[in-house]
Symmetry: C2
Subunit: 158 residues, 2 copies
DNA sequence: ATCAAATTGTTTGATGTCCACCAATTTTTC
DNA sequence: GAAAAATTGGTGGACATCAAACAATTTGAT
């Protein structure tokens, strides 16, 4: 069970690598942070067949019962065609229902099933626990600062 | 060319949507920001067959001539198998070369071709311009704060 | 020196996403 | 009211990514 010598010597590991101008790019740092967060959230949701993305979809449909697929697509920044298979999956899992929209025979209204709502309620505490873990090294003021700075990167996007 | 009436009335558009607890999640805000940034960077690199991800790979190989594929994989947070096709592509474009590594007959050493270096030098100003556009609403101090806060989310990742 | 374990690049198969279309339907224009 | 344009959910193809397997090779243990 001895630790390989090589490992010990370059405990720096990846860090002997020169990242050039990358670390100076806000987008690069953002991507790193986001990657790490998604990885953690994925592990948090592990026991359930729900990815971070699907969690977002459930939250949205729950908060906007009857919303149409195109609206959902816009809200989660997915292509309309991607939403089709996302909803297909959630429908197969009996978490979401497509119903005929009232005024428009083209569009479908999305609803969480009772089971979907139940699952979402069970998921939420896990996600909040994940969130606490993330921000554990940041004071509330710092969290606020972070979110505000992020928002200001693209003011045109509100 | 008149603007559709409907559009004018819900100029709120997506914004009549309730995002539930999502906006309170740091990971959600991060994902939004990162998505927008990648979209902008992609458009910036439009004239060249180089995605934001490929740009990062070029920078890394340039700064670490002779690095092996596994090292690259770790550095860009890609699977080893994904790096295979990434390098395949860059090699087809004659931007990168795989050479036999000196001490190890399993691994291959990666190098930028002259053309690869030339392209990278042409790309860098575009990326820096993109970066300026991003941070145009942030003072240098704020930029620093942002990057530091991001780094502190996962201290274990340095 | 030998043999077990780890590493490297690769292939294959699954998944998630986009894009370019499409038919049905609705909205706008004239 | 009829024709043109826009919108909606959907299909099919392309592509990026991962995970699991694999053969060749290197490293470690004894």
């Amino acid at each position: 069970m001895a630790i390989p010598l090589k490992k010990v010597l370059d405990s720096d590991d990846t860090d002997r690598i020169d990242r050039g101008l990358l670390p100076d790019l806000v987008g690069y740092q953002l991507r790193l942070a986001q990657l790490a967060i998604f990885k953690d959230l994925k592990r948090t949701l592990q026991p359930y067949p729900i990815s971070p993305g699907l969690f977002g979809v459930l939250v949205l449909i729950d908060a906007n019962a009857g919303m149409k697929q195109t609206e959902l697509a816009k809200a989660v920044h997915l292509d309309r065609s991607s939403v089709v298979s996302v909803i297909d999956n959630l429908e197969t899992m009996k978490l979401v229902q497509r119903r005929a929209a009232n005024g428009d025979r083209r569009s479908k209204a999305l609803f969480l099933t009772a089971e979907g709502r139940r699952l979402l309620q069970r998921l939420k505490p896990l996600v909040l626990e994940h969130e606490r873990r993330l921000t554990r090294h940041l004071s509330p003021a710092e969290q606020k600062t972070l979110v505000n700075l992020l928002r200001r990167i693209f003011p045109e996007h509100r």
